[in-house]
Structure formats: structure tokens, C-alpha cells
């Protein structure tokens, strides 16, 4: 195991390097502390971030994102040729790509994989009814034919979450027991709750472009990457500071100062990481009434909720727009309704809605303590405005089950990283578990997903954002930052919600 806290080793390494050349010496094996086990190694079926983080090292998609969240080819030769009507995508497939079992990838593998993705992936199923066919139209070419233009398609194909990864046609089935991919690393050993050992795949064909985010060359610098599940956040901090892991994800805000002062590690602040969401039930219950939703939105003190949840200005931003500064989707449409903190107005709205005191059920979990803390603050304020609030505090597995039944909740609390394409979140869709629908919003959303011109899409998204506030589709509770940490001398990593390590070096 690489250990940075052993000065003698570093000195010895430096002497060796000095005896031969001044080329840096990199650790051959890196240990990465993650928040828990990946629930599956088949990223098609899961939308969990920890699954994406791990699996992107051994399975690959046709496209990926660069550091500016632009789409870039990965297993595809280039960006697709799209017909004038926007319905046909012809995608060239790279030749000479090997799977970990030694077989060669061709268009039959890609077509079979994408068809499986449409059938079993939560994100794939969301687009399946728009896809007429996916066919191999040459040994190294596939054609995707759509029923109607769908502009987020490439983002979906590029996303590592519920990912459209490519497997050998032979192993494809409803479930896949042994994952075989094309990625720069392959699974050597998995000991549950101890480690997932990935070793360099010698048959890997890297792209030749310079590395840029997840796109470009994947240089396979470490011989081995070991993902070590460390569920306790404090233990991840100690493991990092003790030199047992070179990178640790999901660290507690309280450890920031200690990491800053440390001689062994540095903090990495991903600013912003994502946004807490109050998902609103539009299918049943109190909040099917728009005036009630407006009362809820008027009452919430977003800044107080964020402060209670994160406790340090370094870790949250009181920001209304759906996307942070610097993103192409950034717009101020409707944000005057954000963070009103106006309980008098909320009370008036409750009165005009003839509110009868039926409890407002907030479904939350202490597994994400910041969800619970912001709900506690909101409860006090909502009660002051005249709501009767019922907090349903359960564990995450129960929340995951209950939110699927619209009869059991009015609001559930969740969070999401900022996703490169707005259509990657289901919140806007009337088919999501929120069931948010009104004719104006549905028309804007339909135009947004079929429009191909980037400028028009940005304008449409601004209108969609305005609808979020006007119709209170869901409530964005500002934005929050995430803390990660890396050992001193660790480089080659892009700060992202889904960090990857094929270009990582520990000098």
C-alpha cells in the first residue's frame, strides 16, 4: 500500500530516482476511499453516483464529457452524423477495441448493448418510446432512428450514470453476472466491504487526443486502482490523513480546517457540487393545489435552511437559478420567487386555498443529515405560517420505497449533482414520480427536448425554469459544495461528482 506518511520511503524513492534520472516516480497502486460499496457493477441499471464512480473505470460508453461538459467521442469515432430532420443518428464505431475477455468490439455489440439499455436502464427506458430502432448498419457503424427529434440523446449516451455502456453481445441478458467491458482497467478481485481491485487492461486502446475531463487519452498511469469502501465519513478522513488512501470522497464539512492544516493531505472543494431538492407530489395530496404550493414556496427561508444544513458559508450558496454561474443553462427567469421567507404571504395564500389543517407530510431521512436539518428549520417556519407539518423521518431504503407511492407523502427531500443536460433529470417530466404537469410547461418541455439549436434550447430552458418557480414544480434549496481530499503529491484528477483515476499520479 502506498504510504505518504513514511518519509524514509520518500527519501529512498528520491535516491533511486536520483541515481538513474530525475523522472518522477509514481505509485503503482492507488487506494481510493469511497462512501460505500457499489450496489452493482452493471451501471446500466443504477442511477447511484457511487456506481458511476467505480464502473466508469472498466466499462465505457460511445460518448463522454470533457471538462466543460461538452460531448466528446469515446468508443465512437467522432460525433454522429445527424439527418436534417434530426431523427437519424449515424455513429461510427472505433476499430481495434478489445473487451477484457479478448474479443473484439464491433457494431453488433454496440447495437445489442444499446437495445438492452433501452429495455432495462432507468434513463434508457425514459427515452425508449422515442427510439424507432437501433441497428448495426456496418461492421463499425450503427444507426439510431428516432420517432421524433430528441436533442438530449447524446448527453444520455455520454452519461456515466444509468449508463449506455457497451458489453460483448454474447453476455447480454436481463442480468449480467460477470461484467466484461472495454475500459482501461478490469476487475481483478472483489472482496465485499474490503476492496475492489482493478488492474490495468493491457489490451486497452486509448484515444489519442489530449486528456480533457473524461474525454481524450486515458493514460492508465496506476497499475492498480483499489476502491476501498469506508462508510463512516470520519474514518475516511483518518484513512486519508494516515496515508492509507490517496483520495477520499464525501468528507464531512467539519474536517475542512484539519485537512487544510495537514501535511499529509489537501482538501478538494467541489464548488458547487449539487442542489438539495424538495420534490413535490403533484399526483395526490395537499400540494396538487397550486396555491398551496405557492404558500409553501413563499414561506421557506432557504438561507436559514442551508445554514442549518451545512453550518459553514464555504459549503453552501444561496442561489436560485437551476444552474450555477458559468454554465450555459444559467438564467434568472423566475428567481424573484426564490427564498421569499415571507410567512405573512404564505398565510394569506393558505387562507385563499381554504387550507383545513391537513398535515403536510415531509418524507426525509437522517442518512443524509443535511436533508433532515433543513427540514427541521422549514418545519418551524411552515408552522408559523399556518401549515400543520408532519415529519416522516425514515431510513433511506424506506424512503426509496415510500416515495414510489403517491399516497404516502407530499414532499420528499433528495439532492442531485448539477447534470450537464437539464433533460437528464426526470424532475421536469410528467412521467416522473412527482407527476408535475401543466399544459404550458409540457409544451415548453416538449419543445426543449426536440429543439436542436443550442441558443433556442437555452431560451426554452429559461422558460422551463420560470415554470418551476411560477407553478412550483419542485423547490431547489440553493446549492451545496462537496468536500473531497487527496494526499499531497496526488495529481491528475478532475474535480467532478464522478471522479476517475486513470490519469492519476502520486509523485
Amino acid at each position: 500500500m502506498f504510504c505518504l506518511s513514511k518519509p524514509k520511503h520518500i527519501l529512498f524513492g528520491a535516491m533511486l530516482a536520483g541515481a538513474t534520472s530525475f523522472a518522477p516516480v509514481y505509485a503503482a497502486k492507488i487506494d481510493v476511499g469511497i462512501i460505500g460499496e457499489a450496489d452493482t457493477f452493471d451501471p446500466m441499471i443504477s442511477t447511484k453516483d457511487v456506481v458511476s464512480i467505480v464502473t466508469q473505470h472498466f466499462v465505457e460508453t460511445l460518448y463522454t464529457f470533457d471538462s466543460g461538459w461538452n460531448i466528446a467521442p469515446l468508443l465512437a469515432t467522432d460525433l454522429p452524423t445527424i439527418s436534417d430532420d434530426g431523427k437519424t443518428y449515424v455513429i461510427g464505431i472505433r476499430q481495434g477495441i478489445s473487451f477484457h475477455d479478448g474479443s473484439s468490439m464491433d457494431s453488433a455489440d454496440v447495437a445489442a448493448s444499446l437495445n438492452r439499455w433501452l429495455t432495462i436502464s432507468p434513463r434508457g427506458k425514459g427515452v425508449a418510446d422515442r427510439v424507432a430502432s437501433i441497428d448495426a448498419t456496418g461492421d463499425y457503424e450503427i444507426t439510431i432512428t428516432m420517432n421524433e427529434p430528441y436533442s438530449p440523446l447524446l448527453s444520455l449516451l455520454a452519461f456515466s450514470n444509468s449508463a449506455a455502456v457497451v458489453y460483448p453481445e454474447e453476455i447480454i441478458g436481463e442480468t449480467i453476472d460477470t461484467i466484461v467491458g472495454t475500459g482501461p482497467y478490469m476487475i481483478a478481485e472483489h472482496v465485499p466491504d474490503q476492496y475492489l481491485q482493478l488492474v490495468r487492461f493491457d489490451g486497452y486502446s486509448s484515444r489519442s487526443e489530449p486528456s480533457n475531463g473524461a474525454s481524450g487519452a486515458r493514460n492508465q498511469i496506476p497499475d492498480e486502482i483499489r476502491f476501498v469502501p469506508i462508510p463512516d465519513a470520519s474514518t475516511r478522513v483518518e484513512s486519508l490523513l494516515a496515508g492509507e488512501v490517496v483520495f477520499a470522497d464525501g468528507l464531512p464539512a467539519e474536517s475542512f480546517a484539519r485537512l487544510e492544516a495537514s501535511e499529509a493531505a489537501d482538501p478538494i472543494l467541489l464548488k458547487p457540487f449539487g442542489w438539495p431538492i424538495w420534490a413535490i407530489n403533484h399526483k395526490a395530496g395537499l400540494l396538487t393545489d397550486k396555491t398551496m404550493r405557492q404558500a409553501l414556496q413563499a414561506a421557506l427561508p432557504i438561507d436559514d435552511m442551508l445554514f442549518a444544513a451545512f453550518g459553514d458559508d464555504n459549503f453552501f450558496i444561496v442561489d436560485g437559478p437551476m444552474y450555477p454561474e458559468g454554465w450555459v443553462w444559467r438564467s434568472d427567469a423566475g428567481v424573484e420567487l426564490f427564498n421569499q421567507n415571507d410567512q405573512s404571504r404564505a398565510a394569506q395564500l393558505l387562507e385563499s386555498a381554504n387550507y383545513d389543517g391537513t398535515p403536510l407530510r415531509i418524507l426525509t431521512s437522517r442518512q443524509y443529515e443535511f436533508h433532515f436539518k433543513m427540514a427541521e428549520v422549514a418545519k418551524v417556519v411552515l408552522e408559523a405560517a399556518g401549515f400543520t407539518v408532519q415529519m416522516d423521518v425514515v431510513d433511506w431504503a424506506t424512503l426509496g420505497q415510500r416515495r414510489n407511492d403517491p399516497a404516502l407523502w407530499d414532499i420528499y427531500i433528495t439532492h442531485s449533482p448539477f447534470l450537464p443536460e437539464p433533460a437528464l433529470t426526470s424532475l421536469y417530466s410528467k412521467s416522473s414520480r412527482l407527476g408535475w404537469s401543466n399544459p404550458e410547461k409540457d409544451t415548453i418541455l416538449a419543445s426543449f427536448t426536440t429543439e436542436t439549436d443550442p441558443t433556442t434550447r437555452r431560451e426554452l430552458f429559461a422558460q422551463l425554469q420560470n415554470q418551476v418557480f411560477e407553478d412550483v414544480g419542485f423547490i431547489k434549496i440553493g446549492a451545496f459544495n462537496a468536500l473531497m481530499g487527496s494526499a499531497k503529491g496526488f495529481e491528475g484528477i478532475t474535480a467532478t461528482p464522478w471522479p476517475f483515476f486513470w490519469n492519476a499520479k502520486v509523485n
Binding site: 500500500m1 450496489d39 443504477s46 476501498v228 469502501p229 442518512q367 433511506w396 431504503a397 433529470t425
Partner: protein
């Protein structure tokens, strides 16, 4: 024992199924729909009638098949066997440390009843029993492992770790558990010794000129041993069934860590399998404890 195990099989199955929560929803993640979860539940066989699931579970369990972990995709018996080494050695080391602390001090404080040392020791034992083990663990982890580097901070070694390296990872958590568990054994040892030291045959032994060492070790301790053995047995069973908090703090892949993650993810087969193994172990430890009585007291008959 068979009846106990059968009851445990049934109760484990019922409790797990009564608890709310859905392993399919956990696995699929936040962007999945109710339909996605229903499809995965069907794939996992969780949509079958409860009675069918129960009968399949019992008949498989009677053949030694505890099912397959929903998340690890491995037989539950293999998952549990993977936890055996860290759990058993952590328990043994912790018990050894607890005994090394508790028994000599318990005997000595009983012998010096009412002295300053006695009172100080009892107060310290109370403190050790009262302080949450996670706090003790975090403090020792931070200062002894991270800052001083005397011990590994967490984990059980990597893929290359040899046996002794893995055992080294158990030292600090064993010290934490040893300290925490020593308090109870110390109090039992002291109380038991106090009872015995007041007996007539101890006075007789002393009046015959026997040395204090022999009086204490040969006469008093031997007769005080039964309650001490009982509490040692119970402590060992508790440790093997999962030092949940300490394993979590030190990221030891033992039974306690397994139970926590299985419950959080609703990995039904693993929860059921763990309950059965732990219940069986309790029964076994009780049996061994009863047998140990025979060794220390010839008057005990079964």
C-alpha cells in the same frame, strides 16, 4: 437447539419482511421509477407470495443453503465465511485484552476493598463502561493511528496483506473493545471475589497459615469462577455477533459491519443468514459455558 434455530429462522424471516424498505429501490438509485423497482423486485424473486418465499427459505436453510446476497451476488454462507476471520480474531483479541485488564484488577480491588485504589478503579471502570465505544474508538484512532502512526487507522489490509498484517489492523479496535468490555468483567470479578473472600473456608485457610497468594488463587478465585465464566461467555458471544460500532469506526469487515450494511440496503438473505448464525453461536457459547462449569466445580452435575 433445533427448536431454537427453527424459531430463529421463522422470526428472522418475518421481522425482515415486516420492515419497510425495498432493496430494489436502493439498488436502482434516485432516478428510477416505481415501475423500475417493481421489475427488479420480480427479477430478484421478491414479488412471489410471502408464504412461497418462506417455504423456499426454510427448505433451503435446512439443506445449509442460506440463499444468495442480493447485492454481493454471492452465496450468503460465503459472505458470512468471509467475515469469520476478522470477527473471530477481533473477538478473541478483545476478550484477551479485557481479561488481562479486568481479572487481575478485579481480584486485587476485591482483596483491597475500600482502599483508594479500589475506589479509583471502580470509578474508572464505570467511566469506561459509560463512554460510548465510538468516542473511544475515534479518539484512539486519531491520536494513536493517524497522528503517531502506531497502528493502522482503518481497514483490514489490502489484497496483498498477509495474515500478520491483517492481525495488525485488528490491534487498535481490539484495544478499544477490550477497554469497553473489561468494565463489566472487572465488576463481576470483584463482586464475585468479595463474596468468596468473606466465606468461612477462606478464613480457615488463612488460619492454617496458607500464603495469601495461594488463598486467593487456589481457593477464592476457583470458587468465584462460575459467574466470571458466565460473563466471559456472554461477552464473547456479544463480540462475535458483531461489535457494530467499533467495526464501523475502524472499517473492519466483520459481522457487525455486514449487519449494518445489509440492514441499510435491505439485503434480506444476508440479514436472515446473519441472525441464524448469531443465534446458533449464542446457543453454542451457552453450551460451552455450561460445560466449563464442570471443569471448575466438580459439584456441578447435568
Amino acid at each position: 437447539m433445533v427448536v431454537v434455530i427453527f424459531l430463529v429462522l421463522t422470526i428472522a424471516f418475518i421481522i425482515v419482511r415486516l420492515a419497510p424498505g425495498d432493496p430494489a429501490a436502493v439498488m436502482l438509485g434516485p432516478e428510477s421509477t416505481a415501475e423500475d423497482a417493481a421489475e427488479l423486485r420480480a427479477q430478484l424473486g421478491l414479488d412471489r407470495p410471502i408464504i412461497v418465499q418462506y417455504l423456499a427459505f426454510v427448505s433451503n436453510a435446512l439443506r445449509g443453503d442460506l440463499g444468495t446476497s442480493i447485492f454481493f451476488k454471492q452465496p450468503v454462507t460465503d459472505v458470512l465465511l468471509g467475515r469469520a476471520e476478522p470477527t473471530v480474531f477481533l473477538s478473541l483479541f478483545s476478550l484477551l485484552i479485557a481479561l488481562l485488564i479486568a481479572v487481575p484488577i478485579g481480584i486485587y480491588t476485591a482483596y483491597r476493598r475500600g482502599s483508594l485504589l479500589d475506589q479509583t478503579t471502580i470509578s474508572t471502570a464505570m467511566l469506561a463502561a459509560s463512554v460510548p465505544s465510538f468516542w473511544t474508538g475515534l479518539m484512539l484512532q486519531r491520536y494513536l493511528a493517524t497522528d503517531l502512526g502506531w497502528f493502522p487507522a482503518s481497514g483490514y489490509g489490502g489484497p496483498d496483506a498477509m495474515f500478520w498484517e491483517r492481525m495488525r489492523h485488528l490491534l487498535l479496535p481490539s484495544i478499544v473493545l477490550g477497554i469497553v468490555n473489561s468494565a463489566l468483567i472487572l465488576r463481576f470479578t470483584r463482586a464475585s471475589m468479595l463474596d468468596i473472600l468473606g466465606e468461612d473456608y477462606i478464613r480457615t485457610a488463612r488460619s492454617k497459615g496458607m500464603g495469601e497468594g495461594r488463598v486467593i488463587l487456589l481457593h477464592a478465585l476457583k470458587n468465584a469462577a462460575i459467574p466470571i465464566i458466565t460473563v466471559i461467555g456472554l461477552t464473547f458471544a456479544l463480540l462475535v455477533s458483531g461489535a457494530v460500532v467499533t467495526e464501523r469506526v475502524f472499517n473492519i469487515p466483520g459481522m457487525g459491519n455486514l449487519v449494518v450494511s445489509a440492514v441499510l440496503r435491505r439485503d434480506y438473505p444476508v440479514i436472515q443468514g446473519t441472525l441464524i448464525v448469531v443465534a446458533s453461536f449464542y446457543v453454542l457459547i451457552n453450551l460451552l459455558t455450561d460445560l466449563a462449569y464442570l471443569l471448575v466445580d466438580k459439584r456441578v452435575k447435568y
